[in-house]
């Protein structure tokens, strides 16, 4: 790490302070500078909390590696504004009617070392992901491929897997069953290609800057472990003309308070909520320093439907009705979240109606508490279970200040609106997960983020045999509807089935949705054109800086 960088940072810091002083704190976008392109197109981001597990799509398994891979690797497709797939390395594609066979036609693109990006690279990368020897975490994202799951289980050969490079520029994909959202999956970092020639020679290619080869707008310039990664513009990128930033600095910032101060002093230009201390969110949103946008994710309370009296749907509903979601969102979280009125969150498209899935289904849940109805339901429910009064239940959450605050508020609401005493229990993260999986809980917090852009990623969670269904909720009708939606590519049929399934889910209420997430981010005024896709990924491909 040269002195130049830190001097640059110091320079930026001084400059931005002058600007801040000049603006008098008013941060409106029109005031910022002349709007002319800045001479120096170097940006520092604050969204990387720690060393990424790996920059090989095979090892990438969290949002940290995802955030970096968004700048360095491009898959077959990119994500459009509404979650649709738009051309990436694949220029165009054609599919058969029920979306079981897709042929991708690749454009002329190069790896950062000058080699061409070929269909072979994709085939190799995907089979590598499925190879049981490699133990890839995200292998299941490719179970949609014909024989994909079987190969991962060691029950089929690599050659049987439904992906084939017909020639350098043509990739044929065969799927197990109709999967309309497979295209949106190809934007995901696990399905991005790897440079076959490089990987075969050096299996640790993606752990140091020197050996890393990529095909995206930026390549890795330097990598100081546990401290910082620096990206620079990749001239070999097929759309390099559009890329204006010459360098992206990614210091690892573990503590939001530190990141926030770095932003204030100008050491950081742009970031997601990694630099927003939770308790300051409201203040920063109010002042306009931070901005919020809907994020496709739901925060819920899950009931253990095997635990009496939570086996009774009236009791579960009573607990849900007693929650004042508006209070939680407005006075506890204060981050612009939305009170949930259903399980599938805002922002998730309904592909038949052409608008949000949540807008189509209407309101399942009122934002304020319905104390009278809740009390009545609880009484009835308890009677049905032959209980005099509610036994003391423990609400489980994992160690975190945010979860704690919500739990404390919930406890109070249940006390006030249901006259029920609930104990709070917090445990370490992995202990929490193990206890939930084992069914060793009464009710607990739960948050779900999508794997791909389709309501299915939310709805199949509560199928009877779903590994993620800790509520042990089981409903034949529900399972049938989900299976029906999985068997066709006809969006009208699929969406109808999914809506019907959500009706059942919200009537049975094994899960009481609390709120839908927001994505909070901070950009300096002079940072323009950052693309924040609806799946949460952030692209700096076309971003640029204006004169301050």
């Amino acid at each position: 790490m040269g002195k130049g960088i830190s001097r640059g940072i110091a320079f930026l810091a001084i400059l931005s302070m002058v600007v801040l002083a000049a603006c008098g704190g008013g941060n409106s976008a029109d005031k910022a500078g002349t709007g002319e392109l800045a001479e120096k197109q170097e940006i520092t981001l604050g969204n990387i909390p720690s060393e990424p597990p790996g920059l090989d799509p095979l090892q990438a398994k969290d949002s940290v590696s995802g955030d970096i891979l968004a700048q360095t690797m491009v898959g077959l497709t990119k994500m459009g504004k509404n979650g649709e797939a738009i051309p990436g390395i694949a220029e165009k594609w054609d599919a058969n009617e029920d979306m079981t066979k897709i042929t991708f036609h690749l454009r002329d693109a190069q790896w950062s070392n000058g080699d061409p990006v070929t269909a072979e690279d994709f085939e190799y990368a995907w089979k590598r992901m499925l190879d049981p020897k490699n133990g890839a975490v995200y292998a299941y994202q490719l179970f949609y491929l014909k024989n994909g799951e079987k190969y991962n289980k060691g029950k089929a050969k690599a050659d049987d897997v439904g992906v084939k490079a017909v020639d350098d520029k043509t990739l044929e994909v065969e799927l197990e069953q109709p999967t309309p959202y497979f295209l949106s999956l190809t934007t995901f970092y696990s399905l991005r290609p790897v440079p076959k020639k490089v990987v075969e020679k050096n299996k640790d290619w993606a752990s140091e800057a020197d050996s890393y080869v990529c095909n995206g707008p930026f390549k890795v310039k330097s990598w100081k472990h546990d401290a910082k990664i620096v990206l620079e513009k990749n001239d070999k990128y097929y759309d390099a003309d559009k890329v204006k930033l010459t360098q992206i600095n990614l210091p690892f910032i573990a503590e939001p308070k530190t990141g926030y101060q770095m932003f204030q002093t100008g050491d950081v230009d742009s970031s997601n909520s990694n630099i927003v201390p939770t308790d300051l969110t409201k203040k920063l949103l109010d002042s306009g320093e931070a901005k919020g946008a809907p994020q496709i994710a739901t925060y819920t309370v899950e009931f253990n439907t095997k635990k009496k009296p939570f086996n009774n749907k009236k009791v579960r509903k009573a607990f849900s009705l007693a929650i004042d979601r508006k209070q939680i969102v407005e006075n506890v979280l204060e981050g612009g979240q939305e009170p949930a009125n259903g399980w599938v969150p805002w922002g998730m498209p309904d592909f038949a109606a052409g608008k949000d899935f949540a807008e189509v289904h209407g309101k399942y849940i009122e934002p304020t508490a319905q104390a009278d109805e809740a009390k009545k339901l609880l009484e009835e429910g308890l009677k049905e279970e032959g209980l005099e009064k509610m036994p003391e239940m423990t609400y489980l959450y994992n160690t975190d200040d945010g979860h704690k605050k919500i739990a404390e508020a919930l406890q109070q609401m249940w006390k006030e609106n249901l006259d029920v005493n609930v104990k709070l229990g917090n445990v370490e993260w992995k202990v929490f997960l193990e206890r939930k999986t084992a069914g060793d809980f009464d009710f607990a917090r739960f948050g779900w983020l999508p794997d791909y852009i389709d309501p299915m990623t939310f709805m199949d969670v509560y199928m009877t045999d779903s590994g993620n269904n800790d509520t042990k909720f089981s409903n034949k009708k529900y399972d049938e509807l989900i299976k029906k939606a999985k068997s066709t590519a006809d969006q009208k049929v699929r969406m109808k089935a999914l809506h019907d399934a959500e009706d059942i889910l919200m009537d049975e209420m094994p899960v009481a949705p609390l709120y839908w997430y927001t994505r909070v981010y901070m950009d300096k005024d002079y940072v323009k054109n950052v693309y924040r896709a609806i799946d949460g990924s952030v692209y700096y491909e076309e971003a640029y800086l204006t004169e301050k």
Binding site: K257, Y260, Q261, P277, T278, D279, L280, K283, Q327, N331, V332, T399, D401, K404, K405, A407, E408, A409, Q411, Q412, K423, L424, G425, N426, V427, E428, V431
Partner: protein
Amino acid sequence: MAIPVEKFQRVERRPKEAEAIRRPRVSYWKDAWIRLKKNWLAMGGLIVILLLVVMALVGPYMLPYEYYGIDLKSGKNLEPSGDHWFGTDDLGRDMFVRTWYGARISLTIGIVAALIDLVVGVLYGGISGYKGGRTDEIMMRIVDVLWGLPYLLVVILLLVVMGPGLLTIIIALTVTGWLNMARLVRGQILQLKEQEFVLASKALGASTKRLMMKHLIPNTMGPILVMLTFTVPNAIFAEAFLSFLGLGVQAPIASWGTMINDALVVVLSDEWWRLFFPALFLSLTLLAFNAFGDGLRDALDPKMRK
């Protein structure tokens, strides 16, 4: 001027009285207490500690709020006022009530930790240092092993096995809380036991117990008391860390440690009272303990006996 002879009175020989000790016999500990009472700083410390204990007992009832009483609508982050003497926190709970409720937890933890240090640490270190040789070698290697184990692992295991609660915390503190004290005492005893007065005492046939209690431990009292004043805040913050992991008292009960931890954000915002009051009383507690400790040290110092 001459004094007439008849004014003089002859005093009989009273051998018994001649042998008697006029000054009342005072034991080492009683003597220490007398000297302690004269030390205004130490007594001030003691009075502050007692006041804190009293406030911990009655404080939560002085205002009409509960420590868990959330008020989201209009009671959040209020400045100290006539209604809320110490203001309110980010869920609208009264800070005065919470501070004194928290004092119960934190003072208990502090005192228990000090006791563990005194009983386990001083005894362990004392025996190890006094015995020396192989016993010392083995006892100190056990200390090394306990010190080397990853504490977080031990804590998670305890939580899984025992569940949360004050008792679990105390056990968690007992595992490693006394190690520093043990090594400190041992180091002192190793040095002291080679000194002449110990040899003299041994020559006079003093028992091991007498040697320890009368000579060795009192001469180590200074470092022991310093270590205690170090153990107390450490334990109070360890409790916050353990509660954060789910081991300790469960929310919404708070201790000073967890309140300070929760209020960290005020470094960047304006609700100073959320950090100030728990931190103030924590510091006051320590100051009182230190003042008392210093006075106690002076009082216990055998060389200062008059």
